[in-house]
């Protein structure tokens, strides 16, 4: 794919990098490189200005409470506004766990701290007294990336979606957004929020490619991406799904059936 280039922005890589979320950036970079797409990764941290026209694809991972508060403060400036503008302008975005929460409208922690979000996603999060921890399988409803996502969740926040965004998928096994309504993650334009660690993208290459394709389309005109040899990715995905089934005694068919 000569002549194509992708500019990735890794937001707060040293602060929001819990549970191996940087693996998502590794996956994006490799999958571009294997296709001959020129890829650059810029890191933006506290105090660095964000130029909404600069990047095609943004990534923000999860973080611990302390780090999350620093980032919340930093995003409350014009930087949060610029990130929203970037997504409105066609950039793709992936946010995980703590990063996902900060891009919503607000996060009220279990200890009573109120963290305002940047309202990119129409979601609100409230901290709970227990953590949702475990392997997860989700039926992904994202157009062009349908299928089952596998990952690992570890969060106490309960996130509820408003009318301004739709869920990333429906939980087949695990808790997802709040453990009650069966939704997991959210999607607004080409921006995705989710609770899934794992890292998420290496074992879910269709979602990785969806992000790459949509990010490339911001500045390039193209139909699709040439396929890669994903046999190892599929084997790892299959092994993770088999694990979820064993844990939850999920019938093998349920994972393939369309949700109502």
């Amino acid at each position: 794919m000569k002549g194509l280039d992708l500019r990735i922005c890794h937001l707060y890589p040293e602060l929001m990098n819990i549970y191996g979320d940087r693996g998502n950036v590794i996956a994006l970079v490799r999958r571009c490189a294997w296709r001959g797409i020129e890829v650059t990764v810029g890191a933006l941290s506290l105090g660095d200005p964000l130029d909404p026209g600069r990047y095609d694809l943004y990534f923000i991972g999860g973080g611990q409470d302390r780090e999350q508060m620093l980032v919340c403060e930093d995003l409350s400036t014009e930087k949060g506004e610029a990130l929203r503008e970037a997504v409105e302008g066609g950039a793709a975005l992936l946010s995980i766990c703590g990063g996902y929460q900060l891009l919503g409208k607000s996060f009220l922690t279990w200890t009573g701290e109120y963290l305002p979000g940047i309202s990119l996603f129409d979601v609100e999060t409230v901290g709970g007294d227990t953590r949702f921890i475990g392997n997860v399988a989700v039926r992904c409803e994202l157009e062009g990336a349908e299928g089952v996502l596998v990952g690992f969740e570890n969060h106490s926040g309960r996130t509820r979606l408003g009318p301004g965004c739709r869920p990333l998928g429906r939980v087949l096994s695990g808790h997802g957004n709040n453990g009650e309504d069966g939704t997991e993650g959210c999607v607004y334009r080409k921006a995705v929020g989710t609770y899934l660690h794992g890292s998420l993208l290496p074992k879910n290459p269709r979602l990785a490619d969806w992000l790459i394709l949509n990010a490339l389309r911001r500045r390039h005109d193209l139909e699709g991406l040439p396929p890669l040899d994903d046999s190892l990715e599929q084997a790892a995905h299959g092994a993770a799904l088999a694990l979820v089934r064993r844990e939850r005694r999920l019938p093998a068919r349920a994972a393939r059936k369309r949700s109502p």
Binding site: Y19, D21, R22, G23, I133, P202, K203, A240
Partner: protein, 463 residues
């Protein structure tokens, strides 16, 4: 009460014996469970009978090596430590170790308790065992799904240290900003150890580094020297808090690859040049923790030096085991920092290596394997001519290596450990080393497999 303790001890001994006979493993946790059910205060009562009291070693990495080194030094000093040696460090493991080292009435045959305790178990262990010395090695992101976040953990550990008696001592790693910040509210006296020579520094902080911010004011710390992970010399540019002065330090370190390091040790009373047979800078920290602990327990230069010289490798922490005319170099690699240090050591072994990487996701390993994406496997990728991935999450391991840049033609996946070991040995030439990097329960599995094959002594036969 006496009878109840005796019954619990008898049950503990019997279950330990039975689980060894049945080949269920070293029998370290289950017997403790049985005992605590029979007599919940069994550990308190047995610990109170140790004339020289108890020492606890806690932290993410290095507990086993530190306590084994310290045990070797204590023995040189004529003491007889009761020690949970096989790394079973929950309250159940400690209880079982006490029973194993006691007569049937519950009187310990040793005179000092030396227990490694899981960071999350520290509060319970402090309450139950009333230690005279607590050593904390480091705090890294390890199994966050089990322990919660580091700050929460640090607060709990602070709470535990706050309940120590005023004549107790706490020995902390000064090079770890989070550990060095602990115990400020504790009535016990605080002591610190650290590395004081800067030749061993790394160019920049790796992403696996965890505590890079000042715990008081949250400002990013400045590092003037950096050893590995977030270990180094640091200060806070805003509030001025900085690395404490060390009482026990390595003033010179000369690394010798997988063979170990030469370390010049300095204490308030004496100095010594030691030949440490354990590889990696992280083992220099373990040595400092053990030597500092020994000094705080009243031992001198002779005991420390002889203890280090006579030290036998902690289980799975760099053992070399001959198998089939090849040598298996067995290294426990259970979290990002540990793995990065192992990779740094392997880089001294050249390229064209045969590597066996075993990733498990059992409870003791942490169910979440996301952490492998925090390891710098990109630095390992150029080293193997062949890598066999195995364990309950074998495919995750293989996928990580593919994305780290290892050519898939050099990658092989074997879900079952025996097949994986055979495949790795077949790839190695006569006399060559196979590097086995294994998570905690995978190390146990591999040890068990090797002893079944007659290649290694069973765990409980001791190191």
């Amino acid at each position: 009460m006496e009878l109840r303790l005796a019954a619990a001890v008898a049950a503990g001994k019997a279950t330990t014996w039975a689980s060894r006979r049945l080949g269920l493993g070293a029998g370290s946790n289950f017997p403790g469970k049985v005992m605590l059910r029979l007599h919940p205060r069994a550990p308190e009562e047995m610990a109170a009978r140790l004339p020289r009291g108890c020492v606890l070693v806690s932290g993410t990495n290095g507990k086993t090596t530190t306590s084994n080194l310290l045990a070797a030094m204590l023995r040189e000093g004529g003491m007889s430590p009761v020690h949970n040696r096989v790394g079973a460090n929950l309250v159940t493991g400690i209880t079982a170790a006490l029973a194993q080292a006691s007569d049937l009435a519950g009187n310990p045959r040793g005179d000092i308790g030396l227990f490694e305790v899981d960071e999350a178990t520290l509060p319970a262990a402090v309450t139950r065992l009333r230690p005279r010395l607590v050593i904390i090695t480091n705090l890294f992101r390890d199994q966050l799904d089990r322990y919660g976040e580091l700050e929460t953990l640090a607060r709990k550990m602070d709470g535990a240290l706050g309940t120590l008696s005023p004549d107790a001592k706490v020995l902390l790693n000064a090079d770890d900003p989070l550990v060095a910040s602990l115990g400020k509210e504790s009535p016990a006296s605080l002591y610190y150890y650290g590395i004081e020579c800067e030749e061993v520094t790394e160019a920049s902080l790796r992403h696996a580094a965890d505590s890079k911010h000042c715990r008081t004011c949250r400002t990013a710390l400045s590092f003037s020297a950096h050893y590995f992970g977030h270990m180094g010399k640091y200060f806070c540019p805003r509030c001025g808090s900085s690395r404490p002065e060390t009482h026990f330090s390595a003033v010179r370190v000369r690394p010798r690859g997988t063979a170990g390091s030469e370390v010049s040790l300095s204490t308030p009373r004496w100095e010594a040049d030691l030949d440490l047979g354990l590889p990696g800078i992280y083992n220099v920290h373990n040595l400092l923790a053990a030597a500092g602990g020994a000094c705080l327990l009243g031992l001198g230069r002779e005991e420390v030096t002889r203890g280090v010289a006579g030290y036998a490798t902690a289980f799975g922490r760099g053992e070399r085991i001959p198998v089939d005319g090849r040598e298996l170099f067995l290294v426990l690699s259970k979290n990002p920092t540990g793995f990065n240090e192992v990779i740094r050591t392997l880089k001294g072994e050249g390229t064209g290596l045969v590597v066996l990487a075993a990733l498990n996701d059992r409870i003791a390993d942490g169910r979440d394997v996301s952490w492998i994406w925090d390891v710098d496997f990109e630095e390992l990728a150029p080293l193997p001519r062949h890598l066999v991935a195995t364990g309950t999450r074998a495919y995750d391991m293989a996928l990580r290596m593919k994305y780290a840049g290892l050519d898939p033609s050099r990658l092989e996946v074997h879900g079952d450990l025996k097949g994986a070991l055979r495949a790795a040995l077949e790839r190695a030439r006569e006399g060559e080393t196979v590097y086995a990097l294994t998570t905690y329960t995978a190390t146990l599995d591999l040890r068990r497999l090797l002893s079944r094959l007659g290649a290694a002594p069973a765990l409980w036969e001791g190191n």
